[in-house]
């Protein structure tokens, strides 16, 4: 499966279904992220394609979990200074997250409310495939689950995450933006 890269291209080729990786969602939401401009522009296209039912963009509960932690760390650093989040001990991170959870929830709920976002429903067969992919690919568990979910949806995986880009013989199309 080949990777699709839109950066610098005049014409982008897209599959009719896209699974939104957490990396894309974070870049879309956070204006100061290095990939925000690309994500925002790409999302403008996806919104129109979804509105005309040419494409379906899936968001998963796994992405909610990852996005919540990622946004939590970002907001915590913003409010308490750079690297404050990483300075917290593991046992302190839950308290750190709880201190910013309302803003995190607001961000995620606004994102999920956008009409171009569809919630992915997963079959039993997809769960069974997670361990198959775990044996076959060198990815962290969360990324393996993303890969499995995208595969289950017969969707391309939208992400600039280097771990996906470097993945050899990916079972799903990796779409960069």
């Amino acid at each position: 499966m080949t990777a699709t890269n839109s950066v610098g291209s005049e014409t982008v080729e897209l599959p009719p279904r896209l699974y939104l990786d957490t990396q894309f969602c974070f870049a879309y939401i956070v204006e100061s992220d290095r990939d925000h401009e690309h994500a925002a522009e790409f999302a403008l296209v996806l919104k129109q394609l979804a509105a005309t039912k040419l494409i379906t963009c899936y968001f998963s509960v796994l992405a909610v979990d990852e996005l919540a932690w990622k946004l939590g760390g970002f907001i915590y650093d913003r409010d308490n200074g750079q690297a404050s989040w990483h300075a917290l001990r593991p046992t302190e991170k839950t308290a750190g997250f709880l201190s910013v959870k309302t803003e995190v929830a607001d961000c995620i709920s606004s994102f999920m409310d956008e009409p171009w976002i569809s919630v992915l429903r997963v079959s039993d067969a997809a769960y069974a495939r997670i361990c198959t992919f775990m044996r076959a690919h060198d990815l962290r568990p969360a990324d393996l689950c993303h890969l499995t979910l995208a595969h289950a949806a017969d969707a391309g995986l939208l992400s600039n995450d280097g771990d996906f880009r470097r993945l050899a013989s990916s079972p799903v199309e990796i779409v960069n933006y």
């Binding site: 839109s6 014409t11 080729e13 879309y28 956070v30 204006e31 296209v45 932690w69 606004s110």
Partner: protein, 116 residues
């Protein structure tokens, strides 16, 4: 009506004959419309399918037979700037970005420990 078999010549495909279709309704008297009937081979030979040309967005997107989409990003940008300035303004205000802080996230988060 002309039928096109699988061995239709290039000339037939390139210059399909006009076909007349009689329409009784909703007009009071019969009206003859004339339009070329494209052979199936010519349609299928095309790798791209036009979307609704009446839609501004249709100019920028083509759908291939397998459902994949070809999106001309430059045209999309032009369409948004010309026909949807409010959308651009919303983007500039940060509708896409829920967090408007100048604070820059740690880039290492992507590769190392982005998720706890």
């Amino acid at each position: 009506m002309t039928s096109y078999s699988g061995d239709a010549t290039a000339r037939e495909i390139a210059a399909p004959e006009a076909t007349q279709v009689q329409v009784d309704e909703p007009f009071a008297k019969p009206v003859l419309l004339s339009y070329p009937m494209l052979p199936m081979e010519a349609t299928m030979a095309s790798s791209e399918v036009e979307l609704d040309a009446a839609s501004p967005f249709g100019e920028a997107v083509r759908r291939m037979p397998d459902g994949r989409l070809l999106v001309n990003m430059a045209k999309v940008r032009r369409i948004y700037q010309l026909t949807a300035p409010d959308e651009r303004k919303e983007k500039d205000r940060g509708t896409c970005g829920r967090l408007h802080s100048e604070f820059v996230p740690e880039q290492s988060d992507y590769e190392d420990d982005r998720y706890e």
